[in-house]
Every structure is written in structure tokens, then in C-alpha cells.
């Protein structure tokens, strides 16, 4: 049984290798390799889930990767409750996205390449969640980042896709730098990178402090665990698109839509949340770091939701919503409600993948039109897409009895029950729930209801896409509701000592009721503003011009980074190029070449072509040698 689990990551890896090497010949049959591999891996994941539910936890080492002094790193697989849930999420969404891709990418020149990259991504993500030590986590953390880069830039002939891919990579670099510093600090503190060893020794190291101002000559002692947690969290901030490193996620929508669903909604961006939950014992030991995590999550949650209100690109609305929902999960983890955070991660994975795939279906039907203002009235033309999209939006809005309702309630109630900070943040969470419901139904109403603004060339042949695209939508729609009834919180809560306890009593019921009311109010608000009074949004935008502008321009974060970081870097690089590269380095290299050319010009005069000159040289040389021999 245990040996079989290795196949979960190995099958996608095999698919990647086959498609990577033979993709040139396989071409349009690429899905015949990738789809069965991922579906098999999904089946084994279900077996693993059932096995874990029976209480069998297993950690096994495949091989020792490197040994150097005290450092010993294994490639290992851990299968416990947390991993089992993630395995299920990753393989399910990945399998559905693989199937969806068959229809979405049909006839694209990069068809086989695309499949090989998503197979590689699936492998990396599975290894990330299965890791049993920090280094393995980090390696596959980077690997999923690489796949994200490759897939965002899938249409590499578009300059905007290249720019978005580069941006995602560079912004993640900032976070990953923190991650690797945290990794080094873990090793110097605990002398080990294994989760089990580190977690077992937390109490021993709890009192250890680090003078963080040492290089500057100052003195500020901070608990080593707090520094470790914050540095590792910096990695999560990058990967999970938290403020202030969230800027790459909306731009990542340049990639093909299946990628947005798989990587930038359901799996890779949740790696940060997963990491915090995985390292829960470490974070629990550092209340200061926990508070930072919670506040960063809350800020992201509010920021993402306010931006999503005014965006007009259909995928960007969903992207900002993803950012906001990731904020919810991070906030929950920061408040110790790991179970609720992971639960929301799981349900969000289902309904957000659904929303993205729905967007993809709309985009394909409208020949790659992504502007909401040029849609409208699509609900009769695309009934399957419409109904599944509505289910996804209801789940996102937290409509009662959908999966999103259960997980969001669980999350907000746990947050409320975790203390004074939790209560403040829970209030923000409730307000964000209102915004969430509003923007998600704004999307539904503007896209699917009302008069059609579709380009007249395409309007005539708008039709539902092929079954390979609609079947995954239907399955995800079912999951968006069913995921709430699978008992995930009960399944997960034994993992986390602190998390999972629900604040029972009056407070909890009130929070639940308010959360549901917020969701309904948001939906009603969107109905009022976009269906009953279609000119109301414009008037509101006129009235609160500044607020509207700030939301539309994403709080000017990109502009601020542009002014403060990008442009100074470009200017400095340009100066360095002109003064150092051209003047000094090129000057030195060309100078050496020129000196040799001049020297050679003089020396070649010796070669006269006259044999007698050479003979004279030989004779004189012989005289010199003989003289030397006789003198010495």
C-alpha cells in the first residue's frame, strides 16, 4: 500500500518526461499521455485519503539526497491528514484542468509543451505537499514558481505575457529570498531540516534570541523562532500573493485560463497557506509572528476585495477575488484557526477553479474577449457555463448551504473566538464578505445578464464549448457544493492542537448569521445596482471619484513600485551600463584587443618575404648561441 503512494507524484513526472522529450512527435495527442497519468494519480490520492482517514499516517524516505557534516537531507514523503487533503485538492483540480485544457488549447501550436508543463507543475506541487523536510519544501516551492513562470509566458510571442511572467518571477524572488534565509536560520538553530526533529525541539530553542540589529551596531534581541517564522512567512507572502507582494498575481492572468484555474487559484498560490499550516507548531511558538501573519492576511483580504469591485477584465476580477480569499486563509492561520484556513483553502480551490474555468469558457466563446463591458446577455447562449458560474459565485459569496458558506463561517467563527485581535479582524472579514458577494454577482450580472454588448462579428456564433470543457465545469460545480458536506474540519482538526475549537455560544451564532446576511446583502446590492438600475454604478463612480479611482488603479501599488523600485533600478542599471559596462569593461576588453593589433602591426614588418633576411636572422642567431656557449 505504502509503496503505491510514490506513484502519486511519479506519474505526472513520467508524463512530463515523455511529453518533454517526445512532445515534438506526439503533438496533438499529448493529452493521451498527460490525462491518464493525472487521473491515475488522483485515484491513488483517494486511496491515500481513505487510508489516512482510517488513522494510518506514514512518513517514508525515498533516498538520502545529500549528506554534509550535520546536514542530512532526504527526499521523503509524508502522508498525514493535512497532506491527504492537499493531495486530493491538487490531483482533483489538476485532473479536471487537464481535461478542460484538451478543449481550451485545441489546435494551439504549443499544445504538447503546455501539457508537459502542467504535468511538471502537478508533480512539483505534489512533492511540495508531500515534503518531510524544509529543503524539499523549498526546492519544490521554487519548482512550482518556475512552472508558473513558464506557463504565464506560454504565449511567449506576446510582450505582455513575457512581462507578466518576468514580473511573477521577480516578485516571488523577493519572497523566496526571505524563505531561504529562514531555512538557513532553521538549520543553524535546530541543526536539522526535518520537520519532525525541528518540531520536537521547539521548546528547547524557545528562549533563544537573535540580535537583529547586529550588523548595524545596534541591539534589539528578538526571539529566534519569531525571526524564523517571519522570514518563512515572507516566502508565503510572495507565493500566496499577500500585500505587499501581491502585484504579480493579477498580471499572471496573461497566461492561458486553465493555468489561472490550476496554479493561480487552486494550488500554487495556496502553497503559502499550506506552508503556514504545515509549520503550525513553529508558528504557535511565536505569538508575535502569528499576529503579523493575521494582520497581513486581513490587509490583503480587504485590499483585494476593494480592487475587485471596479475591475473590468473578467479574469482580473476573479484574480483579485483570489487574492482576497487567500487573505482570509492567511488571516485564519495567523489567528491559529489552521483547520478553518485549510478548509477554506479546499473549498476555495473547488469554486475558484470553477470560476476561472467558467471565465475561460466565456473567453473562448467570445474569441478571446476579456472585457466585461463587451459581454452581457450570455446566459441563454451559454447555459451550462452560466449555471455553473452562478454556483461558483454563490459559493464565493458564501450563500447558505454551499461549500463556501460552511468554510467561510467556520473561518470567521474561529477568528472571532480566537481573541481580541481575532474579533477586530473578524469584523473586517464580515465586511469583506459583503464586498465579495457584491463583486462576484456584479461579474455574473454584467457578463451573463442584461443587453448584449458582444462584438457583432462574434455575436452570431456564440455557443457552448465542447464537452471536454463543460464536464469539468459541472463536476467542479458539484464539488463547490459537496465539499461542504464531506466533514473536512473534523478530518483536519486532530492535526492542529490549537486550531479547530469553535467558539460555541452566542458570539458564534451571531457571526454566522451576520456572515450569511452579508452574503445575501451583497448579492442583493449587486442585483439592485447592475440589474434594476444599470446607470447607478456610473453615478456612484462620479460621486466618489477618488475612491473609484483608487480602486480602479489598484491602490496605485504598481505605480508606487514603479516609482520607488523599478525606475530607480532601471536608471541605476542604465548608468552602470553606460559608465561601467561600456566605459570600463568594454574599454578594457577592446583596449587589449587594440594593443595586440598595434603590436602585431609592428611585428609583422619583420616578415619581409625575403629569404635572405631570414637566413641572416638564422646566422646571427647561431653566432649569438655560439658566443653564449663559449663565454659561459
Amino acid at each position: 500500500m505504502v509503496m503505491m503512494y510514490e506513484l502519486i507524484p511519479v506519474l505526472p513526472l513520467a508524463a512530463f518526461l515523455i511529453l518533454g522529450i517526445f512532445g515534438h512527435w506526439i503533438k496533438a495527442k499529448a493529452h493521451l499521455v498527460a490525462v491518464p497519468a493525472v487521473i491515475l494519480s488522483w485515484c491513488i490520492s483517494i486511496l491515500a485519503f481513505v487510508d489516512v482517514a482510517d488513522g494510518h499516517h506514514s512518513t517514508f524516505r525515498l533516498y538520502t539526497w545529500l549528506t554534509s557534516g550535520m546536514l542530512e537531507v532526504h527526499i521523503g514523503l509524508t502522508i498525514d491528514r493535512l497532506t491527504a487533503v492537499m493531495l486530493l485538492l491538487v490531483t482533483t483540480v489538476s485532473a479536471l484542468v487537464h481535461v478542460y485544457t484538451i478543449g481550451y488549447m485545441k489546435g494551439e501550436p504549443g499544445y504538447a509543451r503546455f501539457f508537459s508543463y502542467i504535468a511538471l507543475f502537478t508533480f512539483s506541487m505534489l512533492m511540495l505537499v508531500l515534503a518531510d523536510n524544509f529543503l524539499q519544501l523549498f526546492v519544490f516551492w521554487e519548482a512550482v514558481g518556475l512552472c508558473s513562470y513558464l506557463l504565464i509566458g506560454h504565449w511567449y510571442e506576446r510582450p505582455s505575457a513575457c512581462a507578466a511572467a518576468t514580473k511573477a518571477f521577480i516578485v516571488n524572488r523577493v519572497g523566496d529570498f526571505g524563505f531561504i534565509l529562514g531555512l538557513l536560520l532553521v538549520f543553524t538553530t535546530f541543526d536539522s531540516l526535518d520537520y519532525a526533529t525541528v518540531f520536537a525541539n521547539i521548546e528547547r530553542e524557545a528562549a533563544k534570541t537573535i540580535n537583529v540589529l547586529d550588523p548595524l551596531g545596534g541591539s534589539l534581541d528578538v526571539s529566534a523562532l519569531t525571526v524564523i517564522c517571519l522570514l518563512l512567512f515572507l516566502g508565503a507572502v510572495g507565493k500566496s500573493a499577500q500585500v505587499p507582494l501581491h502585484v504579480w498575481l493579477p498580471d499572471a492572468m496573461e497566461g492561458p485560463t486553465p493555468i489561472s484555474a490550476l496554479i493561480h487559484a487552486a494550488t500554487m498560490v495556496t502553497a503559502g497557506v499550506f506552508m503556514v499550516a504545515r509549520l503550525a507548531p513553529l508558528y504557535n511558538a511565536s505569538p508575535a509572528a502569528m499576529s503579523v501573519v493575521a494582520v497581513v492576511g486581513a490587509v490583503t483580504m480587504v485590499l483585494g476585495a476593494t480592487i475587485a469591485l471596479t475591475q473590468t477584465d473578467i479574469k482580473r476580477v476573479v484574480a483579485y477575488s483570489t487574492m482576497s480569499q487567500l487573505g482570509y486563509m492567511i488571516m485564519a492561520c495567523g489567528l491559529g484557526a489552521y483547520t478553518a484556513g485549510m478548509y477554506h483553502l479546499l473549498t476555495h480551490g473547488a469554486f475558484k477553479a470553477l470560476l476561472f474555468l467558467g471565465c475561460g469558457s466565456v473567453i473562448i466563446a467570445l474569441h478571446h474577449e476579456q472585457d466585461m463591458r463587451r459581454m452581457g446577455g450570455l446566459k441563454d447562449r451559454l447555459p451550462i457555463t452560466y449555471w455553473t458560474f452562478v454556483v461558483g459565485s454563490l459559493a464565493l459569496a458564501g450563500f447558505p448551504l454551499t461549500a463556501g458558506f460552511f468554510s467561510k463561517d467556520e473561518l470567521l467563527v474561529s477568528a472571532w473566538g480566537s481573541g481580541p485581535l481575532g474579533q477586530v479582524l473578524a469584523v473586517f472579514g464580515l465586511l469583506t464578505a459583503l464586498l465579495t458577494a457584491f463583486y462576484s454577482f456584479r461579474l455574473v450580472f454584467v457578463t451573463f445578464w442584461g443587453p448584449s454588448h458582444v462584438d457583432s462579428h462574434h455575436a452570431a456564433h456564440v455557443h457552448e464549448p465542447s464537452p471536454t470543457m463543460t464536464v469539468p465545469l459541472i463536476i467542479l460545480a458539484v464539488l463547490s457544493i459537496a465539499a461542504g458536506y464531506l466533514g473536512i474540519p473534523e478530518f483536519l482538526s486532530p492535526m492542529f492542537e490549537r486550531g479547530g475549537e469553535r467558539a460555541h455560544g452566542g458570539g458564534a451564532t451571531v457571526v454566522m448569521l451576520v456572515a450569511s446576511a452579508m452574503g445575501l446583502l451583497g448579492i442583493a446590492g449587486a442585483y439592485y445596482a447592475y440589474v434594476l438600475n444599470p446607470d447607478l454604478p456610473d453615478r456612484l463612480a462620479q460621486r466618489w471619484r477618488t475612491a473609484y479611482e483608487w480602486s480602479l488603479h489598484k491602490w496605485y501599488v504598481d505605480e508606487a513600485y514603479d516609482r520607488s523600485i523599478v525606475r530607480p533600478t532601471f536608471a541605476a542599471a542604465s548608468e552602470l551600463w553606460k559608465r561601467v559596462d561600456v566605459a570600463v569593461i568594454d574599454g578594457a576588453v577592446n583596449g587589449v584587443a587594440r594593443a595586440i593589433a598595434w603590436g602585431a602591426w609592428f611585428l609583422r614588418l619583420l616578415q619581409s618575404g625575403q629569404t635572405q633576411h631570414y637566413a641572416l636572422g638564422m646566422a646571427l642567431g647561431a653566432v649569438v648561441i655560439l658566443t653564449l656557449l663559449m663565454v659561459i
Binding site: 616578415q607 619581409s608 618575404g609 625575403q610 629569404t611 635572405q612 637566413a615
Partner: protein
């Protein structure tokens, strides 16, 4: 019995005559003759030392040298004829194609 130094001196004089001829003359046939002079100066040395040291190897070597010299002259004259046909002259100053 003529002392060895006489032979060596004669050889040196002939060798230098040849060397100077090679270096200063412009007529390519004279240069070839001068090369032969240098070769035969060494032959004189070989024979002289062979006799003085009672070792026949030196005289045998001279036969080899003469044979090679004969072949070399044949090749050298052929080259000179070819050069003369190409340039219509036997002045070595005219033969300076192999330069920068």
C-alpha cells in the same frame, strides 16, 4: 702529415665564404652554389676528423651527404627554372610573395 687545424681552418674559410655568399648575393644560382660550398665545408670537417680519430664513420657520412647534395641540387635547379619561368628573372629581391 698535415695537422688537423689546417683542415679545420680551410673548412671554416670555405663555410664563411658560402655563408656570406648566401647572405649578400642576389643571383639565385650563386646562392645555390654558396649553399653547396657550406655543405662541402662540413664534408671537409667530417673527413679530417675521421682520419684524425681513426673512425671510418665520418667518411661514410660524407658519402651520404654527397648523395643528398646531388639530389638537392637537382631539386634546387628545378625550382630556379620554375621561378625563372614565373618571374622572368633570377634576382632574389623579386621573390618576396610570402610576406604580410
Amino acid at each position: 702529415m698535415i695537422p688537423l687545424s689546417y683542415y679545420v681552418t680551410l673548412s671554416a674559410v670555405v663555410f664563411f665564404t658560402g655563408l656570406v655568399g648566401v647572405l649578400i648575393r642576389r643571383n639565385i644560382i650563386i646562392i645555390l652554389l654558396s649553399v653547396e660550398l657550406m655543405l662541402n665545408a662540413t664534408n671537409i670537417n667530417f673527413v679530417a676528423f675521421s682520419q684524425s680519430l681513426h673512425n671510418i664513420a665520418g667518411q661514410v657520412f660524407v658519402f651520404f651527404a654527397l648523395t643528398v647534395a646531388a639530389a638537392e641540387v637537382a631539386v634546387g635547379l628545378a625550382i630556379i627554372i620554375a621561378l625563372h619561368r614565373a618571374k622572368n628573372t633570377i634576382n632574389v629581391d623579386e621573390f618576396q610573395l610570402l610576406k604580410w
